[in-house]
Symmetry: C2
Subunit: 132 residues, 2 copies
DNA sequence: CTACACCCTCTAGCAACTAGAGGGTCAAGC
DNA sequence: GCTTGACCCTCTAGTTGCTAGAGGGTGTAG
């Protein structure tokens, strides 16, 4: 399987696959006579795993740990749970931050009377002076 | 006013102030005899503006535009409104994305039975094989 | 035999800083 | 007068997760 085929099989860009190899996330595959990368089923599985984890928002470092853990089939999955839970906590925190931000932005934008910049409430919120 | 003073007055790091100068967001101040940056009230206002806009999540490019607009006091504030509204739309989109992500993560984590990695539902979700 | 799609390596770029190296300046305390 | 420590300076490289480009080689269809 050539890199382009692996790329379309996993909806990943060719450059991204090479990048994953360069950071040791994906093992270097065999090479053809013409030095083309030649991937097998293992690589496909591994890259699929990476893709799904990335789609769930895990960082590449987290993915790296999840991959390592997934290889120790007998071990407790506590560590897996921990990584996922702390990621979830982070996602929740971001949602909270963005929700607060949204309210603030809505308030600011809602106060705009569509006059001149000199009277603009939005600019007013940002600048430490002037009135609307 | 030295850079450290401006930094603590605006809760900005010294390096960040120098960075803003390097990308022409903040005008270069006068220099003292010993080549120290010497800031005035204008710089304080400008940096405060930048900080508030950044706190509202505006990109540096958006901040640059907002700053330019805020100087044209007579102009219509339509452009300001547009920048703010499109930022708000972006924030909303991010909240939606993260909320969907949160549900997915909660579902995945909730299915974990705290056994071994081989039985782990979390790993199972990521890997295209095995059972819990 | 010549297009053209594909592959290769290596490097630089994005946002928005942050951290470090390697140096100069200035006021206080001994 | 001299050292200590907190500042300041410039310049460069690192962070995350790719993406895009230069400058080349390969393989196949017409």
């Amino acid at each position: 399987m050539k890199i382009g085929e692996l790329a379309s099989a996993t909806a990943t860009k060719v450059e991204t696959i090479r990048y994953y190899e360069s950071i040791d996330l994906l093992a270097p595959p065999a090479r053809s006579a013409s030095n083309y990368r030649d991937y097998g089923g293992k690589h496909l599985n591994r890259l699929s795993f990476i893709r799904r984890a990335r789609d769930l928002g895990f960082s590449l470092e987290a993915v790296r740990e999840l991959l390592a853990l997934s290889d120790n089939i007998g071990q407790s999955c506590e560590a897996v749970d921990l990584i996922a839970s702390s990621h979830l906590a982070e996602v929740k925190r971001k949602i909270d931050d963005l929700t607060a931000l949204r309210s603030e932005l809505e308030r600011v934008i809602g106060s705009c009377r569509h006059g001149t910049v000199g009277e603009c409430k939005i600019i007013d919120t940002l600048a430490p002076r002037s009135a609307c």
